[in-house]
């Protein structure tokens, strides 16, 4: 039989919940234990990568759409948020939501065109669109300020009735990002486990068969793509509010590469693998102080190895190792 690519659906809700809560707990106490400002920034960035990887998991991991526009959605969210809060003085919450929504609108336009092609050329069309967007950022100087970028994006604050909560320091901002990440991951894992998630897996494994049992594949693909773009936009908005500066160079292809690597290694089934991989893949090169060039080479090699030997990602790889060991012991 032809070997398929990943087929795990996490069904054990309690196990997932336990994992999720432990993870959240560790991430919330880590900056209090290790009191180095650098750690907070690294953690904040890795959380943004978690949102990026989880939303990309919906597109590549679940639906099997090889989209190369994920960095572009991140950029759309980042620019929308930056322009709204700098030029129009919009508050954080509406800016965040509008960033997500504008990414969704762009994604809807892209997928309308991209679904006209075969799945092979899907990647090309999305790549073409993301390069069009990059041209716009660079050359539409009146609005985006071109290659100079937009400085001075304010740190977020919330106004609830008369109460004003400020997130001006890195640490406060980190907790805000953690909250939003936790909510996004919870929402995405709900989708993964729902009827929609199962329909998406069916489409990935065999589109014709899925359609024959009544799954409207175009509708579900559009849904997954647009939802993924929404969360990428949210991640972009968090990014600009944390870094307080944005320029076209922030969203190169290497961002998409990172997202792809995270999803492929994380295994396309459950969200645990992707969650751990996202944090590990951001932190390991960061702490080893590898230059971005070498990091991308490393990611490329990992991608090749995964495609060749572990099509189910690390979870699959561990299972394979474990199985071999048990087989050996049985034989002995």
């Amino acid at each position: 039989m032809e070997r398929r690519w990943g087929y795990k659906v996490p069904l054990n809700f309690l196990e997932d919940l336990k994992f999720y809560l432990i993870f959240l707990f560790i991430l919330s106490i880590l900056p209090m234990i290790i009191r180095i400002p650098y750690i907070v920034t690294v953690l904040a960035f890795s959380l943004m990568y978690v949102i990026l990887a989880m939303s990309y998991n919906l597109i590549l991991g679940y639906t099997g759409l090889f989209s190369l526009a994920h960095a572009a959605f991140f950029a759309v969210g980042a620019y929308t948020s930056a322009l709204l809060s700098v030029d129009l003085k919009v508050q954080f919450t509406p800016a965040l939501l509008l960033a997500g929504i504008s990414s969704m609108v762009v994604a809807y336009g892209i997928i309308k065109v991209a679904l006209k092609t075969s799945y092979h050329s899907f990647g090309l069309v999305t790549l073409a669109f993301s390069s069009i967007l990059a041209l716009v950022y660079k050359n539409w100087v009146e609005i985006t300020r071109g290659p100079m970028g937009i400085p001075g994006i304010p740190r977020p604050y919330l106004e609830l009735l008369s109460l004003r909560i400020e997130f001006f320091t890195d640490l406060q901002c980190y907790y805000l990002i953690l909250t939003i990440t936790a909510l996004s991951v919870w929402f995405l894992s709900k989708i993964f486990r729902s009827r929609i998630g199962r329909a998406l897996i069916a489409i990935r494994e065999n589109q014709v068969l899925a359609e024959s049992v009544g799954i409207n594949s175009k509708k579900y693909m559009t849904l997954a793509f647009v939802l993924g773009a929404f969360f990428a936009g949210i991640a972009g908005s968090l990014y600009v509010h944390y870094v307080r500066y944005v320029n076209p160079e922030s969203f190169s292809l290497s961002l998409t590469v990172t997202a792809i690597t995270m999803v492929i290694i994380g295994g396309q089934g459950g969200f645990k693998g992707v969650l751990i991989t996202a944090i590990a893949l951001y932190m390991i090169p960061e702490f080893l102080r590898i230059s971005p060039d070498w990091r991308d080479v490393l990611f490329g090699i990992v991608l090749l190895a995964c495609a060749r030997f572990f099509p189910e990602g690390i979870e699959g790889a561990f299972k394979l190792l474990f199985k071999r060991k048990s087989e050996v012991t049985e034989n002995a």
Binding site: E2, R3, R4, W5, G64, F66, V113, A114, K116, T117, S118, Y119, H120, S121, G123, L124, V125, L127, A128, F129, S131, I132, L135, N139, L253, S254, V257, I260, I264, D293, W294, D296, V297, F299, G300, I301, V302, L303, L304, C306, A307, R308, P311
Partner: protein
């Protein structure tokens, strides 16, 4: 009296079209035969450019020898890459070969940046900056080499695909794989041949167009996107359609750059691609099956 600006744009368009066509032919060939989208195609072109740079500027080979050696080297390299990375994955889920070529493209691009530094390198050629002038049109000799080199190579490819037995096997494989196996065509050999043929075109493009554009690690990825647009326009896996639409896109871009906006010149190719996808998703020449 012909307007010399118009003529100049047509000539520029044909030149750019030749470069796009050299890239698109290989992409289309690989897609037609192996059904793999080769994201590393632009990087093979960059390798071709760098080999040319090394041989010409550093080791001082003659230009003719350089072109020949580059083509040969790229054909061998492509064959090795196909054997190691693509062949074991062809039977798997279709995503795995794409992920592999994408990973390959990232590795090669960053290694080139590490080895040769991100600086732009210039290749001095036999003709330097010499320019031919006629009817008020100026064109450098290197560009003439590109235009005619592309035409001659397409002619040779046509002869190879239609007159030789091996070429016929490649065309057969692009039409029906099961039938090929039945009549005893070794599909693995055909895949290998198609891949190294397509990377050979990259080598040719790198060595003749490299001196015009200069050599840098990113030279491939920008051109690759255009080549993709061309391939989509021409209909996936349709080699002749790809060549024709390469010239069409080259001319349209050159006119748009001259008369509309030079900044957004690169966008027009993509806009055409989007329009074609919306109204004729199989491409302009996409009807015919096979190459």
């Amino acid at each position: 009296m012909i307007d010399s600006i118009l003529l100049q744009q047509i000539l520029n368009g044909i030149f750019e079209g030749s470069v796009y066509a050299l890239m698109a032919v290989g992409l289309s060939l690989i897609f037609g035969v192996i059904e793999v989208v080769n994201f590393a195609h632009g990087e093979f072109y960059a390798i071709g450019g760098y080999i040319t740079y090394l041989l010409c500027s550093v080791f001082g080979f003659s230009y003719e020898a350089t072109v020949a050696i580059t083509c040969l080297a790229l054909a061998v390299l492509g064959g090795i890459c196909e054997k190691i990375f693509i062949e074991p994955l062809i039977e798997r889920h279709w995503l795995m070969p794409i992920v592999t070529t994408f990973g390959l493209s990232i590795i090669i691009q960053n290694l080139l940046r590490i080895i040769f530094s991100p600086d732009v390198k210039k290749i001095p050629t036999l003709y330097g900056a010499e320019v031919l002038e006629f009817l008020g049109v100026r064109v450098s000799y290197q560009r003439i080499i590109v235009i005619f080199g592309a035409l001659i190579s397409f002619l040779l490819l046509h002869i190879f695909l239609y007159k030789t037995k091996t070429g016929k096997a490649i065309r057969a494989a692009s039409q029906n794989k099961e039938a090929c196996s039945i009549v005893g065509i070794d599909l693995k050999k055909v895949y290998l041949l198609a891949f190294s043929l397509s990377t050979m075109f990259c080598g040719l493009a790198g060595s003749i167009a490299g001196p015009v554009f200069c050599v840098s690690p990113m030279m491939g990825s920008a051109l690759l996107l255009k080549a993709f647009a061309v391939v989509i326009l021409g209909g996936f896996g349709n080699v002749k359609g790809a060549i024709l639409s390469a010239y069409i896109i080259g001319c349209i871009e050159s006119f748009a750059g001259a008369y509309i906006s030079y900044t957004f010149k690169d966008m027009f190719g993509f806009i055409i691609m989007v329009i074609v996808l919306l109204f004729k998703p199989q491409g302009i020449f996409g009807k015919k099956v096979g190459i």
